[in-house]
């Protein structure tokens, strides 16, 4: 479904991604784990075309993403739930959700999708009229994911969805990610919470300073000595 091939990207003189190869197949949960500054978010920013890579390629269902603008990528079925949630602070919950279905293909399903995300996140329904900026971190994360789902994505890119959340909320978010996947959406998850994300992922990539150093089945990597030592403190 998504194929990243020999991707190289630098911010000015500083190269942050080196020859990165990554594949996501339809129906999978794939996770990219790694420490701060490993290039995880930058990879997602490249997929969403917010930044432009120097060499290599990214294709989605065999379409070369280099030809598309960020808003066109969303129309193709890739949505990103960015790090730090980035919800519209001066808009209500419902207005934020409506913005999620701005693209033409998602508009006819707007009401249906609003019902769907309200079932998934009953808390958002209670807060329907509240301004996005006044909500707690966990609620904002729910809203960000719900807003992403409003675009009817085929592939959802999640950037650090558990960052800064209380343990109970972290568990809830990871359950939701599995639920989204069961509903037929392919997931590419970027996380620093290595244990939780390897637990739910079908496959995983370990990134260190912009390079893939390890790849494999999620559960297997959990038992890998290097992963244990580097990320799990065992």
């Amino acid at each position: 479904m998504l194929k990243v091939d020999k991707l190289n990207f630098s911010y000015g003189d500083m190269q942050v991604i080196w020859d990165l190869d990554l594949v996501v197949n339809a129906g999978e949960i794939v996770t990219v784990v790694g420490a701060n500054g490993a290039g995880k978010s930058t990879t997602l920013r490249n997929i969403s075309r917010l930044v432009k890579w120097q060499s290599g390629s990214i294709s989605f269902n065999d379409a070369d993403l280099a030809k598309f603008e960020p808003h066109e990528v969303v129309e193709m079925g890739i949505v990103q739930v960015p790090e730090g949630r980035k919800i519209f602070p001066e808009m209500t919950v419902i207005e934020n959700l409506r913005m999620g279905s701005f693209i033409k293909s998602a508009r006819p399903k707007r009401d249906e999708n609003i019902d769907r995300v309200f079932t998934m996140f009953p808390r958002l329904k209670e807060r329907e009229k509240q301004l996005g900026g006044t909500m707690s971190g966990g609620e904002q994360q729910m809203l960000a994911i719900a807003r992403g789902l409003m675009t009817n994505p085929k592939l959802i890119l999640l950037d650090e969805p558990s960052l800064g959340l209380a343990p109970l909320m972290v568990k809830f978010i990871f359950d939701i990610i599995q639920e989204i996947n069961r509903q037929g959406v392919t997931v590419l998850l970027v996380e620093q919470n290595v244990y939780q994300s390897l637990r739910i992922a079908h496959r995983a990539y370990v990134l260190e300073t912009g390079r893939v150093v390890m790849t494999g089945v999620g559960e297997e990597l959990l038992n890998n000595d290097h992963v244990k030592k580097a990320f799990l403190g065992m």
Binding site: E69, H71, P82, E90, F102, I103, R107, T151
Partner: protein, 288 residues
């Protein structure tokens, strides 16, 4: 008391037009983070457009806005697409220089076309007035206020209720998040600059029966627009609306009670006081 009411009402009437100017500037700033220093000159173009339509075709200035609004929208969209867009993300001083430069081109072009003589657009109702409970209201000001109120109401409806309007607000609140939702922010910028220009042009059209028309009038209104938007809170449309009316009232009341020579002093003292106590402006963080 009657004198006070009289000056208050005149202030509100002219404040409506100021609000229109301020809203235009604040929409442009909100969506693009560019301060449009050509705003007053765009207003001046609107004045000349109205003047020409009246002088050469005999179209009433308040009727001609149906022509002025779409033309000014296209003019603004053109400026954004051809010039301002290239400066997106550039250093602020470069953006400022660009818009100042565009403004100079506009005023000098008008000087070439119409000379720098003061023009007067005089209709048969230019100096007439309506008497209402002892207060006399200038007819052109009253009509322009009604039009302003109608346009502002439509604009609020557009920004709050339509998908495109909400997308403009979303782009203003978080440009990157808007892109991630599939919003074409370049198109939103063109739309915003078009709307901002149409609003400035309309304001120019509405005041043309009561003001002198000359190529250099722009800078006065750029400054005024800037004061209004900063007073209301940069990027806030509600703020610009309130700011415009406040400035209108302050000018009108101080002209009556102090002297018309001092009205700008009063406006700027008021402006500084607001910034002293509310540095983000009156509506620094509001929904629109």
């Amino acid at each position: 008391m009657l004198v006070f009411m009289q000056s208050l009402i005149s202030g509100i009437l002219i404040g409506g037009v100021y609000a229109l100017i301020g809203i235009g500037l604040t929409i442009i700033f909100g969506v693009m983070r560019v301060i449009n220093f050509a705003h007053g000159d765009i207003l001046m173009i609107g004045m000349y457009m109205t003047y020409s339509l009246f002088t050469f075709f005999g179209i009433d200035p308040f009727v001609s806005i149906v022509i002025t609004i779409p033309l000014m929208f296209m003019f603004g969209a053109f400026l954004q697409k051809v010039f301002i867009n290239r400066m997106q993300g550039a250093l602020p001083q470069n953006q400022i220089l660009l818009t100042i430069g565009l403004g100079m081109i506009m005023s000098n072009t008008m000087m070439l076309a119409f000379t720098s003589d003061y023009k007067i657009l005089s209709t048969d109702y230019s100096s007439s007035s309506i008497k209402l409970a002892g207060i006399s209201i200038s007819t052109p000001l009253a009509i322009s206020f009604l039009i302003t109120a109608a346009i502002t109401a439509m604009l609020y409806w557009f920004l709050l209720k339509t998908d495109t309007g909400q997308a403009i607000r979303a782009t203003a609140q978080d440009r990157e998040a808007a892109q991630l939702m599939g919003i074409n922010v370049k198109w939103m910028s063109i739309l915003a600059f078009g709307m901002g220009s149409a609003l400035a042009g309309t304001a120019g059209a509405l005041i043309s029966p009561t003001y002198y028309i000359f190529p250099q009038i722009g800078s006065t209104f750029t400054l005024k627009a800037f004061v209004i938007t900063v007073l209301g809170g940069m990027g806030s449309i509600v703020g610009a609306t309130i700011g415009g009316v406040i400035i209108g009232i302050a000018e009108s009341v101080s002209a009556v009670y102090i002297s018309s020579g001092w009205k700008d002093v009063v406006v700027f003292v008021l402006f500084l006081l607001v910034l002293l106590f509310k540095p983000a402006g009156l509506m620094g963080k509001s929904r629109m």
